[in-house]
């Protein structure tokens, strides 16, 4: 019966349609639909006749054709755009522009083992979108986090492809502060951020507080960077994008050194004041000589070319990407140092059934690098700064060697061009990583996921130390002036291989549950098993034929060990592994989207730790209150106000210690306690054995207690949004060697979990978007990050200290210390108080051995009447007090403009590149030196002499400079072509010009105030590789 009625109804309806068609005369409308802001053609937009519901969709060029009755209204709509209506009056070709929907679709962010709506997040997380990353065109992913993610400190270096220092919420640990990196759910490390193509990144979430990181347990203590790569889209016609840029890199700044005449005069003075002879008799003939910085800095290229293809059908989606990136080094140019990378990525998703999904992500990466010696007084740059300026560039003395040599500087510091010419090395790596993942929608709201993630990395490197002639009488020569080999010297080649394989297997269930509409639950439970393993082998061999890179390989070298030379052939092999197992869970609950609770838990086991502490449990809870959803809250100004708080404990497992009693056999020990073995009987040596390590079954991870309080505020119809967080982090159980009783003997004591630190700071992010008029829009993002770090304790009597920042200026020095009661890695040395102007001043001052008028007056910090090592004190801190970023973008019609400013304030730099030998070049400040009573009282400018009885060159604040800076890191101007013919071929065609590191405002006198190096080496400038200014032009095309 029912069926009959239905059929009848349909029949009547169809008849009605026929009548209508007959009654009206139809006209044909053709048109093109575009995105109003970008001008991009919209593919698959629907065009519906309101009355008849007849519809069509736009083709690959955004065009449609529809036949309608006169006066009909067409509705044109597209996902994410505001629909628009068009009344048909005549047959014509129309152009329709759709605006992007202002009403934001709820932002979803990727967190550990799931996603979460931004509005429901009660922890601290910063996100960076793929589009913003693409705009920066970074070489490494970390670059894109600098200044854009609040709470993240990134300190870059100029060396191509090298790893920047990255700190999420300060320095908590003495053993490693690098964050955990998760790429598509698979654990990797910061090192792996060198091998991902930024064009493949969909988004990055930086998980900062305990609530966010506790689900990563013992690996989450330093924060987590979650990278999500792009995927295809269902029912999307193939979309091809090409991105290409080419740029030139050049050095922005050179350091002021003396020219040849000035140098000769200073050398004369230095010699004379120390009672020596005049070295240069006729200054007038010397001229300006050579500025070696001009010789070693060469413009270098950088380029990136990529293609991505994405799309999908009903049952599968795909994202394919190929990318080639190359960056040359400005020290020595493209030939001598570079970082090249080729990436191939395919991310495929298959619907095996309506409930079962299969995801395969695969990336293959090829890496190739060459490096030059860096960041030391005798590196390429160090040599360029310190080498004798009177030496001509080319050698005209008739000896071997293309480049000139000094007759005064006979060791350590050589002509940097000779060094460059004799620098040979290469490293080639291949990496495969990705995942296989099954997702099963078991029942409604319950999704089971199982995933196998892997990473395989192999590399192969080679370096060659040729025989070199550095100059007549040079003590470091391995080649004589006539090209023959210095007796006892050999050239040598070293081949090294690394291989490692890491995998993680995980299975987890996500469950969503709703109780009486208002109570929302989301739960995750899962477990994981992981193993990292690898091995390395290497061999070196002397006597490479023809002293040539061409034959530089173990296969061709001919060295054979003998009684007098045990280094002709050497080799090594070792392997390592590390296993983890974990269970984890999370429960999120909210009531009416207003009151938010999240609880995270992870239990981790690791083979690295002592038998008594194999497993650790980490957990955190966070609470949020969306105040603006309360009925009493009634503000036209405020769209959203959420207050959040979290607290919990997470771990840091970056180091491990002995968990067994090892027996060592052999002879002398070169270890810290020199726990030697063996003895001789009547001059015949017998190896011995003894206990070599003590067991510590309690050794475990560091635990970080973290609390976070913050709020999110959205104002003025979403024009302004503010995210603020205050955090405090107490790290306990830092590994130090505990103070050990002397009667325990000399077996090195194993580290124990005894140290602690405290870090606090604020993260602030403000975005401000303002459309001005019809064609203009302005977007700003500001970030502000502070960190205040302090070491609370090391071992129980505070004797355990770590020293770093070592450099050489005629004496071996160390500058940085990690010790109780101080900021980690702070600069430690003598304070200065001007110069002694006369002998009376020397006599009146606290006893300072060797002091003369014109020497630096050091401060008697402890007031004991003498200047000695006990007066060393804090003279600086390499880590900034705060950092800030400002990302500005503007759009006007077809033009787009973006600029990114980055500021670091309060970071000190220790100037350690001054070698300070008698015949090394000096720096321009020496021209303002003390030359008599009253000439100057600046401690940076003591008298100049070859002999330095006062040790003016000791570690002191004389060498500390304020490294605060503001950099225009990136500025870009783009133009998108829009026109009939162009739009027919391209979805998008954009050209742009970009300048990276456009300028730096700083008081620092060295090359670049941004000096990376991790905990103990940051801010030590031994001739650190400066970041180059890059001028690039690029092209973005989409079909």
């Amino acid at each position: 019966m029912k069926l009959k009625v239905r059929l009848l109804c349909i029949g009547i309806f169809l008849c009605g349609l026929l009548f209508q068609v007959a009654a009206q005369t139809n006209i044909v409308v053709t048109g093109k639909v575009r995105n109003k802001t970008t001008g991009e053609a919209l593919v698959g937009a629907s065009v519906i006749n309101e009355k008849t519901h007849k519809s069509t969709v736009t083709n690959e060029n955004g065009e449609f054709r529809i036949s309608v009755e006169k006066g009909a209204t067409l509705t044109v709509s597209f996902v994410g755009m505001t629909s628009t209506k068009y009344k048909v009056t005549e047959s014509s070709e129309i152009s329709i522009q759709l605006e992007e929907e202002i009403k934001k679709t709820e932002e979803v962010i990727v967190i550990g083992y799931g996603t979460q709506k931004r509005s429901k997040v009660s922890g601290a997380v910063s996100t960076v979108k793929g589009a913003d990353i693409e705009k920066l065109k970074p070489v490494r992913t970390e670059e894109a986090l600098q200044g854009t993610a609040s709470g993240v400190t990134v300190i870059q270096t100029g060396s191509p492809g090298s790893k920047p220092t990255i700190l999420i919420r300060g320095i908590a640990s003495n053993s490693g502060n690098a964050p955990l990196v998760i790429i598509d759910g698979v654990q990797q490390t910061q090192d792996d951020l060198n091998s991902i193509s930024p064009a493949d990144i969909e988004s990055i979430s930086v998980l900062k507080d305990a609530a966010m990181t506790a689900i990563y347990g013992s690996k989450g203590g330093n924060g987590v960077i979650v990278v999500t790569t792009k995927g295809g889209r269902k029912n999307l016609k193939t979309e091809i994008a090409l991105n290409s840029f080419y740029g030139n890199q050049s050095v922005i700044k050179k350091v002021g050194v003396l020219n040849a005449t000035e140098y000769a005069a200073m050398v004369n003075e230095g010699s004379a004041t120390s009672g020596g002879p005049i070295i240069f008799n006729n200054l007038s003939k010397i001229g300006v000589g050579t500025n070696w910085q001009d010789q070693v800095f060469k413009d270098a290229t950088t380029q990136n070319h990529g293609i991505t293809v994405r799309g999908g059908s009903d049952k599968m989606t795909y994202f394919l990407s190929g990318n080639y990136m190359s960056q040359g080094g400005v020290v020595g140019g493209d030939d001598k140092s570079f970082f090249n990378r080729g990436n191939f990525t395919s991310n495929l998703n298959f619907d095996l059934s309506s409930k079962l999904k299969f995801l395969v992500n695969t990336s293959a990466v090829m890496l190739s690098t060459k490096t030059v010696s860096e960041n030391a007084f005798n590196s390429i740059l160090g040599s360029a700064l310190n080498f004798d300026p009177t030496v001509p560039v080319l050698n005209t003395t008739g000896t071997v060697g293309q480049y000139g040599y000094s007759t005064l500087l006979l060791s350590e510091v050589f002509n940097p061009l000779t060094k460059l010419a004799n620098t040979y090395n290469q490293n080639k790596g291949t990496k495969f990583y990705g995942k296989f993942e099954l997702q099963y929608d078991a029942i409604k709201n319950l999704k089971l996921t199982t995933r196998f993630g892997y990473q395989k990395y192999d590399d192969n490197s080679k370096s060659f130390d040729p025989l070199v002639f550095y100059g007549l009488n040079n003590v470091d020569n391995s080649m004589n002036a006539d090209g023959s080999t210095v007796i006892g010297k050999h050239n040598s080649v070293a081949n090294n291989k690394n291989s490692n394989f890491n995998w993680t297997y995980e299975a987890f269930a996500n469950y969503i549950y709703k109780l009486k509409e208002d109570h929302h639950f989301e739960a995750v439970v899962g477990f994981s098993l992981a193993k990292t393993s690898g091995n390395a082998a290497g061999a070196s061999r002397q006597d490479v034929p023809y002293n040539s890179w061409t034959f530089a390989d173990n296969t061709a070298a001919t060295g054979v060990n003998s009684a007098t030379n045990s280094n002709a052939q050497t080799g090594y092999y070792y392997e390592y592994f590390n296993k983890n197992t974990s269970t984890f869970g999370r429960l999120n609950y909210d009531f009416k989207d207003r009151y938010l609770v999240s609880y995270n838990l992870r239990r981790d086991g690791s083979n690295l730790f002592g038998a008594n502490n194999k497993f650790g449990t980490f957990s955190a809870i966070s609470l949020g209150w969306v105040v603006s959803k309360e009925s009493f809250f009634n503000s036209k100004l405020i769209d959203l106000l959420k207050v959040r708080g979290s607290s919990g404990t997470i771990g840091n497992d970056q180091s491990a210690a002995a968990y067994y009693t090892q027996i060592v056999t052999g002879g002398p020990s070169y270890g810290s306690t020199a726990n030697s073995n063996g003895y001789n009987f009547n001059n015949i040596f017998y190896p011995g054995s003894t206990v070599g390590t003590l067991r510590n079954d309690n050794v475990s991870w560091e635990s970080d207690k973290q609390t976070n309080i913050g709020f999110d505020l959205v104002l003025l119809k979403s024009k302004v949004s503010i995210t603020f967080d205050y955090y405090k982090k107490n790290a306990n159980g830092l590994l130090f060697v505990p103070s050990i009783s002397g009667y325990e003997g000399t077996v090195p004591a194993p580290s124990a979990n005894v140290g602690s630190t405290e870090t606090k700071g604020i993260d602030l992010q403000i975005t401000y978007n303002q459309p001005i008029g019809k064609n203009f829009s302005l977007n700003n993002t500001f970030t502000f990050t502070t960190q205040d770090n302090k070491v609370i304790s090391t071992n129980d009597d505070g004797t355990a200290k770590m020293y770093g920042g070592s450099y050489f200026n005629g004496q071996s020095q160390t500058v940085t210390v990690f010790e109780k009661g101080k900021a980690p890695g702070y600069f430690y040395g003598y304070k200065t108080a001007g110069l002694f102007q006369n002998a009376a001043a020397v006599l009146a001052a606290p006893a300072q051995a060797g002091a003369q008028p014109g020497d630096i007056r050091f401060v008697d910090v402890n007031g004991d009447g003498k200047i000695d090592a006990n007066d060393k004190t804090k003279i600086g801190n390499p880590f900034p007090k705060f950092i800030a970023g400002w990302n500005l973008s503007m759009n006007y019609k077809d033009f787009d403009f973006s600029a990114f400013f980055y500021a670091s304030v309060g970071n000190d730099i220790y100037r350690a590149y001054e070698r300070n030998a008698n015949y090394t070049n000096k720096f321009r400040s020496v021209l303002g030196r003390w030359t008599g009573e009253g000439t100057t009282n600046e401690a940076t400018n003591p008298r100049y002499s070859f002999t330095d009885a006062n040790n003016n060159a000791r570690v002191s604040d004389r060498y500390v400079e304020d490294g605060s800076f503001v950099k225009l890191k990136n500025v870009q101007l783009g133009y998108t072509f829009n026109g009939k013919t162009i739009n027919k071929i391209f979805q998008k065609l954009r050209v742009y010009a970009q300048v990276k590191n456009a300028f730096t405002i700083t008081k620092y006198t060295g090359f670049d105030p941004e000096i990376s190096g991790g905990l103990m080496e940051t801010g030590i400038d031994r001739g650190s590789y400066p970041q180059a200014r890059t001028v690039a032009f690029g092209l973005d095309i989409k079909f």
Binding site: I443, L446, L448, V525, G526, F527, L529, Y576, F577, K579, N580, T581, T583, G605, S606, N607, A611, Y659, Y660, T661, Q662, I663, T665, G667, P668, S669, A674, N675, S676, N677, G678, Y679, N680, F681, N682, N683, I684, F685, Y686, P687, G688, S689, T690, V691, L694, R695, P738, S739, I740, S741, G742, Y743, E744, G745, T746, V747, A749, P750, D796, D797
Partner: protein, 502 residues
């Protein structure tokens, strides 16, 4: 349906969990590490490990210079007042508990004790519970007992009451748990170990430098003297003398040459060699070379190829007081102290140039251990081959003389005879034989010890044990300086009590 999925998931998770404990176990064999459980499973393991019980003997290197510098025989010297500060303070009696050299000696002796204890603990069965028997095992343990006694003796004579343990190598759990045992208990243990050693040690060792039965007897005799157990000392030392194994080398000087090492007069020497070039400045005494030799060399010494000496650092300089103590005709003077100016004047053909010792110059150098050309290797400062002559036969004779003189049944004739043997070699005649008796003889014996054994590391300890330190040493405070201070770290870290008045 729902239920089954949830249950299945849970079961899978729980099942995986149960296998997790094993997954994260750490098996040192995975890292190819030989652990204590793997070791002491063969004769070779035992013998190899026993060699390393000797090793810390070499680390006690600075005990010899300290024994002289603290006495009237030598001054610290060095470059300036702040050079070799540890030794300066010992020389000047301004020493404090913060003394790196003393701390290092303390740790070194205890490392030796811990190594010996590890051996004795696993003597019968190893850690895995197996018995490893082999011929000569008992004799091997005789050496271990001797060495432990030697380490404790070094500690007790330097520091007085010290922590005493013999049952095990200390583990991390023992950190900061021990306290000092009375000196008497430590001596008791030393006597026990030496007695046990004597019972099993062979009279002759095929490898020269290994401990013999006589070395143990001589050592025990010395220990008895320190305890003023003269009767026991006399009897014990008599064993060594009547064995007739040892003779006085006719040429006194030849003893201290490389060729004189482990010679007919040698009862116990700490072995050093230049065959294992070593370069760790972080542990200058931890190689196979004798660091103290470099220390006492003449600064910037240069001369023709015939000049035998090499340059050094002018520490541990003999005093003029010592030089004056030798009477005319005593051949030992020139062997013991080198008057560099006199030597230079006497040998103009050598073309000697040198830097006068910049601090506490006495004009004299420690000839017995002066660095000699060609006797080092690698990092030359650290690898001199010179053995320390710890117990020579002449020492045994002088100790026996002292014991017989002081014994309850004093035998001065015997004592005179022994001293005279030593003096006949020194003077090459019988005109200098000793005839005194009683307390005069006692003093003669003590003075003779100084002359015979000067710069060999005994003087300070002899002065203290015979109660003459106060009279002979400027700055010496009775009731304080008989022992050195316990290292400050052991007060701070381990909570040990300090010696009086430090």
């Amino acid at each position: 349906m729902k239920k089954y999925f949830v249950i299945t998931t849970l079961v899978v998770i729980i099942a995986s969990l149960s296998s997790c404990n094993k997954w994260v176990d750490n098996n040192p064999h995975d890292a190819y590490v030989v652990t204590d459980l793997d070791y002491l499973k063969s004769e070779s393991d035992y013998r190899t490990m026993e060699v390393s019980v000797y090793t810390p003997l070499q680390w006690l290197n600075q005990v010899v210079p300290i024994g002289e510098i603290a006495s009237d025989n030598a001054v610290s010297g060095g470059e300036t007042a702040s050079d070799v500060l540890d030794l300066q303070q010992i020389d000047d009696y301004t020493l404090t508990p913060v003394n790196g050299t003393l701390t290092d000696l303390w740790k070194s002796a205890y490392e030796g004790i811990n190594r010996a204890n590890y051996m004795t603990k696993y003597k019968v069965t190893n850690l895995a519970g197996d018995k490893v028997d082999f011929a000569g095992k008992e004799a091997l343990y005789g050496e271990v007992y001797f060495l432990r006694a030697y380490y404790y003796f070094t500690l007790v004579k330097m520091f007085g009451d010290v922590p005493l343990f013999t049952d095990r190598r200390l583990a991390l759990a023992d950190n900061k748990k021990l306290s000092r045992s009375p000196k008497a208990d430590v001596y008791k243990q030393i006597e026990l170990d030496l007695t046990n050693a004597i019972a099993v040690l062979p009279a002759v060792q095929t490898e020269k430098g290994r401990i013999t039965k006589y070395a143990a007897e001589a050592m025990l005799g010395k220990v008895y003297l320190y305890e003023k157990k003269y009767d026991l000392a006399a009897a014990m030392l008599e064993n060594v003398i009547t064995s007739n194994v040892f003779t006085l080398v006719p040429n006194f000087g030849s003893i201290f040459l490389a060729t004189g090492e482990n010679g007919p007069e040698s009862v116990f020497e700490i072995q050093y060699t230049n065959t294992s070039p070593y370069y760790n400045w972080g542990g200058v005494t931890r190689g196979q070379g004798n660091y103290a030799v470099q220390q006492c060399g003449i600064r910037s010494l240069n001369g023709g190829s015939a000049m035998p000496y090499a340059a050094g650092w002018s520490t541990n300089l003999p005093t003029q007081d010592l030089a004056k103590a030798y009477s005319a005709g005593d051949t030992r003077k020139a062997i013991t102290v080198l008057d560099i100016e006199a030597y230079k004047t006497a040998n103009p053909s050598l073309g000697i140039t040198y830097q006068v010792a910049p601090y506490k110059n006495t004009g004299l150098y420690n000839q017995k251990y002066l660095p000699r050309k060609g006797e080092t290797s690698g990092q030359v400062e650290l690898n001199y081959l010179n053995n320390f002559r710890i117990i020579r036969y002449s020492d045994v004779l002088l100790m026996a003389a002292e014991a017989n003189n002081k014994a309850s049944a004093a035998n001065d004739t015997k004592a005179q005879n022994y001293v005279s043997l030593v003096r006949r070699r020194a003077f090459g005649d019988v005109l200098h034989d000793v005839t005194s008796t009683g307390t005069t003889l006692y003093q003669t014996i003590l003075d003779e010890r100084r002359l015979e054994l000067a710069m060999e590391g005994d003087r300070f300890f002899d002065l203290v044990r015979t109660g003459q330190a106060k009279a002979k040493l400027t700055g010496f405070v009775t009731g304080k300086h008989e022992v050195f201070p316990i290292p400050q770290t052991e007060i701070d870290v381990s909570g040990l009590t300090q010696n009086p008045n430090y």
